[in-house]
Symmetry: C2
Subunit: 232 residues, 2 copies
DNA sequence: TATTCCTATATGTATAGACATAATTAATCT
DNA sequence: AGATTAATTATGTCTATACATATAGGAATA
């Protein structure tokens, strides 16, 4: 061969090209694995791997017996890294600082219980803290931790380590829900973030579960200078 | 075995469980493919597939010769669907309406060119429109389309179909950058979205390229009631 | 006509074997 | 010792083959 042997990458990229350049229009039934294997001079397994990757990426739809076709409405997805505040700040070349504001065991208010699908007024740990980048407030964190699922949190020391950092090491999660929104800073939030009351803020809310049991709800507030960027 | 034959799923899930339940702590060097193959009574290729999936998910780190270890700082990623405004609104059970505000060919201002990495003041198409859900303003779209890469846009009719919908069918993209942030509504935005000037808004910015050539920049403004939700 | 059953077929998965490749470790040379 | 080279080893990939499984579409039936 002139170049390299046909690998699943070569095949994947070539098929991807044909779709991107509309050689195969959306909805088209493309040749079967057997045929493609012959065309590329590869084994069916190799073609299969290429096709599976493209199907996973959402640009192909495969069905047994029916064959493989170019997705009509490719549900394009983008990824974003689940931010870990310390890394996020240090990755920008800034110095990370952390300040614990309050920790207390309390019955979570109705709103919080509802968000966590908890019927009873569960006993929880309420942690409030502030994350700074180069001594400038970066994120205010208001977190509720379910003491029924993570009883160890009661004795954890949050003066040096943020609750997220602690939880990463003590309570793995299997599921999570992320919500992003805009809001207006409350008086409390404003003074902590050194902005004015009513100023727009970028809010991230994160709920995590382990096998259906809610672990924690984090309410994360950023000043409006914050950007959440991701690439496809 | 008690149940079914060991499949790559079985193996993947079992390994995943061992990591989640801390049988194998972060940093641990786990047994090699050969050993796992023997343990599960499967072929090495099958174990390999399981391990590769876990590595792709970021919970394992693999290196030739060195072996496979549990990721120390698992870079967890979440996905979000790249929203297609019509589908997004109809999926909520709302009726979708669209209103074109303005279309004009113009030289993009410096800021826009800079965002698209265009040095010259390229000739572009500036489209402004409004998307409504059940007759309530849902998103204000302010878009610039590069006429050098998508000359067809000049003759496109945006009175019935939004520029995004049109572009999906005419200009596939290979790369995209998404930025999310909070901001305060300008007087213009406020009147269009039926909110007050200065009210917080949720802003999404989307830039797409085809093979390095910038195609379009979309500035999408939502009232602060908007939620962007995603699951892991 | 509508329903049920059957079968052909494309994809899904497993396997043994082979070779490729990267990276660590050991051996060799200066 | 320090640098270069070679051997070793775990993962990466490909192949040929086999069987599993879902299902479209036709055949048989009610």
């Amino acid at each position: 061969m002139t170049g390299r042997r046909a690998s699943f990458r070569t095949i994947r990229d070539e098929l991807s090209r044909r779709i991107a350049e509309r050689v195969w229009l959306p909805g088209t039934l493309i040749p079967g694995e057997e045929a493609l294997a012959e065309e590329f001079g590869a084994a069916r397994a190799t073609v299969n791997r290429a096709l599976q990757e493209l199907a996973r990426a959402g640009i192909l739809e495969r069905k047994r017996r029916a064959g493989t076709r170019v997705a009509l409405h490719p549900v394009r997805e983008a990824r974003f890294v689940i931010p870990r505040i310390r890394q996020e700040i240090e990755a920008r070349g800034s110095e990370y600082q952390y300040r614990l504001l309050s920790v207390e065991e309390a019955n979570a208010p109705e709103v919080i219980c509802a968000r966590l699908s908890l019927l009873t007024k569960s006993n929880m740990l309420h942690v409030r803290c502030l994350h700074l980048a180069d001594r400038v407030p970066y994120q205010f964190e208001d977190r509720w931790i379910n003491l029924n699922t993570v009883p160890d949190a009661r004795t954890a020391d949050f003066t040096l380590m943020g609750p997220n950092e602690w939880l990463v090491g003590h309570a793995p999660f299997s599921n999570a829900e992320f919500t992003f929104m805009a809001g207006a800073a409350s008086a409390d939030e404003a003074s902590l973030l050194q902005i004015r009351e009513g100023d727009p803020v970028f809010i991230g809310e994160r709920i995590t579960w382990m096998k259906g049991e809610p672990i924690t709800l984090a309410h994360l507030v950023h000043p409006s200078s914050h950007r959440m960027v991701t690439h496809l």
